[in-house]
């Protein structure tokens, strides 16, 4: 079975080792799925972006996509999605000074809710859609990578970075110093459903995967994702 993953690493979901093999939480999950199906797993890591994983399935270059993919309305037009295997709340990393100024004696929540400045997201990812839908009055700026997005925040090009709770908290864990200048907020009523993209005609496979996900409900947890470490 061919499983599509992004060309770039998404630690701890999937990373390429120096010997060319893959490691990570998604990789382990895929191996377990392969064992359950009694098939050999091959990883297809050509998609250059999150969005590019979807056409890889739709155009039959892979059977399923397992690459921290969020379900979106646009993607649903091309592929089927499994049941979510993990749900992450949306989150923001924001410039404290800007939000403090905008909040003008109100709570920072108000300024974050009505934000109309520059919001940074990874380009060709589900968060472009999420940012445009949830912040219609803001200017959504796309960056090629997560690192570039964080750099843009640090350099003042954008005031907010929009992604999921896991990535925002990970950024703070890896560089606690940024927590001085930038605050972290969780949007409690917006969730990202990480699912597997499945080819449009693979209904039986989808049924099997949904059953597999239900059987492995505790495989992913936010705390586990935040603390797990894979050596090279």
């Amino acid at each position: 079975m061919r499983i599509a993953i992004t060309h770039f690493d998404i630690p701890p979901f999937h990373m390429r080792r120096s010997d060319g093999t893959f490691i990570g939480k998604d990789i382990e999950f895929a191996q377990k799925l392969g064992d359950a199906l009694n098939v050999k797993i091959n990883f297809v890591d050509s998609p250059p972006s999150f969005d590019a994983v979807v056409p890889a399935i739709a155009e039959n270059r892979a059977d399923i996509g397992l690459s921290k993919l969020s379900q979106t309305y646009e993607r649903l037009a091309y592929v089927h999605f499994s049941a979510p295997y993990v749900t992450l709340r949306h989150a923001l990393l924001y410039n404290r000074a800007t939000i403090s100024r905008l909040s003008n004696r109100r709570s920072p929540e108000g300024a974050l809710r009505d934000f109309r400045g520059n919001i940074g997201v990874i380009g060709a990812s589900a968060y472009v859609d999420f940012a445009q839908a949830n912040y219609p009055k803001a200017n959504v700026v796309q960056f090629p990578t997560w690192e570039a997005t964080i750099e843009a925040l640090k350099s003042g090009k954008i005031d907010i970075v929009y992604r999921d709770e896991f990535e925002i908290r990970s950024a703070l864990i890896h560089d606690p110093a940024i927590h001085i200048e930038f605050g972290a907020a969780v949007i409690a009523d917006r969730r990202s459903f990480l699912t597997m993209a499945i080819c449009d005609s693979c209904l039986k496979l989808e049924e099997f995967i949904n059953y597999f996900i239900a059987q492995h409900a505790g495989f992913y947890s936010l705390d586990d994702l935040l603390t797990i470490s894979y050596g090279d």
Binding site: S100, E109, R113, H179, E181, G183, A184, A188
Partner: protein, 435 residues
């Protein structure tokens, strides 16, 4: 053979001796830092001591303020004292405000933050590594926060009994001052008043405070130990820049203030330090400026021989309104957060920080504890500095900072009447010498 009354007096004197007080502080520090359960078990005794001290504060203010107002309205000498008090208050505010911005500006410029410190402080902000600051819903805006009340209306007690029952000191002070003026005018017109009754109430409160002073060493141990216990030294290491500057500056201001007190009152300096240690330690222990009024009054008038009239006129009102410790705290905190975020301050900015810190200290009137940090937002925001960052950092070190703030409030407020009444004191002494 000493009589039993004399023996009791000797025991009381020994019990309240500065060495006993300092010994109590040492015992409290040992118990607090040992980390055992004893510190926490002392908390109820400390709470009882504070409750006893606060028990008579409002009756004392109700008696003292009208008496002080009457004394102020009596003659030209008092106008001179009031003028002198105002001049020294302004001087003290200017000095504290300027020191509060200039010293941190120089220190933070000469010793910038190291990356390791910034990382440690960053990890400290959320309480633990990787935690978020807040959660909110996009779909529900919730109730709009109430705007802070403006103007003088909140200071006027529409119902004095309600103000008394809710321990609303500012409103009680306003009522007592207006009532004192009215009663003094009425006394002039009709010759009748109940100032005599107020004097009895004032004396009775002072007598109760004298009795409670016997509990000072016990109160110090029971109040300081539980405050020290939950804090580890590593917190102060992480916030070293803020801690060094604030505590260093505070120590310098306390020492210089007591020196000024000694010089102004023409006293032997070691004696001044020894005698003033008692109100200072009660301030640290109670973390309540108003609760220190009686002991500060007693120390100033009976032990340091400052003008009783001036002290009674000034200290109760000043202890309730002039928070020099908060002024310094807000100024240093603003400079610290600014330095942390790499913001540079020009001379105009520094002046603005000082002015806003002074204004912010007045906004804390009637608030105590960590809630008194809220007006700091008004100092930070004009410079684009986030209060949301400052609060979690400052609240970590607030238990010790709060102690020092109150010590500063008490000490700096005590030098004002000493400086203001110096001439009057000399005149009276000269008159007495001539007679």
């Amino acid at each position: 053979m000493p009589t039993s009354k004399q023996l009791l007096k000797d025991v009381a004197r020994c019990w309240n001796h500065p060495i006993t007080v300092l010994g109590a502080v040492a015992v409290a520090l040992v118990i607090g830092t040992s980390g055992g359960p004893i510190a926490e078990s002392l908390r109820p005794i400390g709470d009882l001591y504070i409750a006893l001290l606060q028990m008579c504060v409002l009756p004392f203010l109700l008696a003292t303020i009208p008496l002080a107002v009457r004394a102020a309205m009596r003659g030209p000498t008092n106008v001179e004292i009031i003028r002198s008090l105002v001049v020294w208050i302004v001087c003290a505010i200017v000095v504290i405000g300027m020191i509060g911005v200039l010293v941190p500006a120089i220190v933070f410029h000469l010793a910038p933050f190291e990356p390791g410190t910034i990382k440690a402080v960053g990890a400290l902000v959320g309480g633990s590594v990787g935690s978020v600051d807040l959660e909110f819903n996009l779909d529900s805006s919730g109730p709009a926060p109430a705007d802070a009340s403006n103007g003088l209306v909140p200071l006027v007690p529409s119902n004095i009994f309600s103000a008394l029952s809710t321990d609303d000191t500012m409103r009680v002070l306003v009522f007592a001052a207006i009532f004192g003026i009215a009663m003094a005018v009425s006394e002039r017109r009709t010759g009748r008043s109940f100032f005599g009754a107020l004097e009895s109430l004032h004396d009775a409160c002072l007598l109760i405070f004298q009795w409670l002073n016997l509990l000072v060493p016990v109160g110090i141990i029971a109040l300081i130990a539980p405050q020290i216990a939950p804090l580890g030294p590593q917190v102060y290491v992480m916030l070293a820049h803020f801690s060094y500057v604030f505590f260093g500056l505070s120590a310098a201001i306390l020492i210089v203030s007591i020196l000024i007190l000694g010089v102004a009152l023409r006293l032997n300096l070691p004696l001044t330090f020894a005698r003033f240690s008692r109100p200072l330690m009660v301030a640290a222990a109670t973390r309540n400026t108003l609760a220190c009024i009686p002991i500060a009054m007693e120390t100033m008038t009976r032990e340091l021989h400052a003008s009783q009239e001036t002290c009674e006129l000034y200290l109760p009102v000043a202890f309730a309104t002039l928070r020099f410790g908060t002024m310094l705290h807000f100024a240093v905190a603003t400079m610290f957060i600014g330095a942390l975020l790499g913001r540079s301050f020009g001379l105009g900015d520094l002046l603005m920080v000082a002015v806003l810190s002074v204004a912010g200290s007045f906004a804390t009137l009637g608030i105590s504890g960590a809630a008194a940090l809220a007006p700091l937002a008004g100092v930070l925001r004009p410079f684009g500095l986030p209060y949301e960052l400052a609060f979690p950092l400052l609240v970590i070190v607030d238990p010790l900072v709060h102690m020092v703030r109150i010590m500063l409030n008490v000490t700096v407020n005590c030098i004002v009447p000493a400086l203001a009444a110096g001439k009057q004191h000399t005149k009276i002494t000269q008159l007495a010498a001539k007679e």
